[in-house]
């Protein structure tokens, strides 16, 4: 077996990497591209900490062999916003206390962005379904839901 070159568009920039074909995209993102905002939780597609947008769709980067990502467009948490200019969802997480220990936060934000792009005014049921693949080990779900609802301007869960 030998490594193969792949080309990715990551957060709008063209990047290349040399990968083992079955290497996890998560490891390529974190180790080769040095984008450590994407976290590893369970490593088996249950927790969503490694969520990214792959060609616009949310995906668990721990379950994608690097070879399959060749030629695709990837958005990681670093592409959603930066500390100088946070995205609306990120600002809402800060304001609502949507982050506690922080491990799930990048994945939660990605899931929230994926949901709101498809459905800008989600019901609470839509929201729960949209974030169902992301686990928060601090169990801070209510504030996370509140943050996402605030981000879409409705504040329906505010109390």
């Amino acid at each position: 077996m030998r490594k193969v070159p792949i080309t990715l568009t990551v957060n709008g920039q063209s990047r290349t990497a040399s990968v083992w074909p079955m290497e996890r995209l998560l490891d390529v993102i974190r180790q080769q591209l040095a984008l450590t905002g994407t976290k590893e939780g369970c490593g088996e597609g249950e927790c969503g900490a490694c969520s990214i947008l792959l060609d616009g769709q949310i995906a668990n980067s721990c379950l994608i062999p690097a070879l399959q990502a060749d030629g695709s467009e990837i958005t990681t948490i670093e592409g959603i916003g930066c500390s100088e200019e946070l995205a609306a969802v990120q600002r809402a997480f800060v304001e609502c206390g949507g982050a506690q220990c922080g491990i799930c936060t990048p994945g939660m934000i990605i899931a929230a962005v994926a949901l709101l792009r498809q459905n800008p005014e989600p019901s609470e049921a839509d929201l729960r379904q949209g974030l169902a693949g992301n686990l928060c080990r601090c169990t801070g779900y209510m504030r996370i839901f509140e943050a996402v609802m605030n981000a879409c301007g409705e504040g329906r869960l505010r109390h």
Partner: protein, 274 residues
């Protein structure tokens, strides 16, 4: 323990023909790799024993949902999200849509495929019971040609199937004969999302004709179409007893045989009264 990643081969043929030729040239060496939602979990656990895979994810020939007047043809790479986004499937095959909606979270639904769900051959998979009650057929394709099987004949035992070493499950066909049917689907797991089934029940019935079709997951070595239970119900016999005789649930990490039997019978009752 994690697998040794450089020990695995993954190639991406450019066309379906090329993929089939490679599978034919070295039968058994190459296995198809679709969205990876099952295989990558095994890899991570150090339990992916096969080493050489062909990535079919980008093969356009295996994608798409085609609606004909009498049937719906699904490429094997149809994802759960594709199922949920298709209006005809949602309307005429709601159990398939329900199964898709209850498989993993959105990220898994975006990558998991119907073909993978079938070929992975887990008795706990969520779409097979729905496919069984809709009388699905599957196309097994190789460079030798194509053959169609009734899906209920596809699984031969625990994780064994009729798929030949050079064959790929290419398409799934659903006959459009469900008009006027009542559809019932219930997945019983530890939580609503991200859980693997303890029991999964799919049933359709038609009030006027008396036709009834039932299939269950996680109660036998294979996803099970319950022909004898259906016959008992049609003939006015004891459906619950027939179901108890037909399924063979076991104790395992997710549940017990006794619980699965009780839940299966309760779901049958709920279905018949729905």
């Amino acid at each position: 323990m994690r697998a040794y990643i450089p020990g695995y081969e993954l190639c991406a043929p450019k066309t379906l023909t090329e993929a089939l030729e490679r599978m034919a040239a070295e039968p058994g060496r190459w296995r198809p790799f679709a969205g990876g939602t099952d295989l990558m979990v095994l890899l991570e656990a150090g339990k992916l024993h096969h080493r050489c895979f062909l990535s079919i994810w980008r093969l356009r020939e295996l994608r798409g949902i085609m609606i004909a007047s009498d049937s719906v043809m699904l490429g094997c790479l149809t994802t759960f999200t594709d199922v949920l986004n298709d209006e005809v499937l949602r309307r005429e095959f709601p159990l398939l849509a329900a199964a898709a909606a209850q498989t993993g979270g959105v990220a898994t639904q975006n990558r998991g495929t119907l073909g993978g769900n079938i070929v992975n051959a887990s008795p706990a998979a969520d779409t097979p019971p729905a496919l069984l009650v809709y009388d699905a057929e599957v196309e097994l394709l190789s460079s030798r040609g194509s053959r169609w099987l009734s899906y209920h004949e596809f699984h031969t035992g625990y994780k064994t199937t009729r798929l030949g070493a050079d064959e790929l499950l290419a398409r799934i066909r659903l006959p459009r004969n469900t008009a006027g049917f009542l559809h019932y689907y219930r997945k019983v797991g530890t939580r609503n999302a991200q859980a693997i089934s303890k029991v999964c029940f799919a049933g359709v019935r038609s009030q006027p004709s008396g036709e009834v079709r039932i299939a269950l997951g996680s109660v036998a070595p294979v996803p099970l179409r319950c022909w004898r239970t259906e016959a008992a119900i049609r003939e006015g016999g004891d459906g619950l007893a027939a179901l108890a005789a037909e399924i063979t649930p076991i104790d395992d990490v997710r549940s017990t045989a006794a619980y699965r039997l009780r839940v299966s019978q309760n779901l049958l009752k709920a279905f018949l009264h729905s």
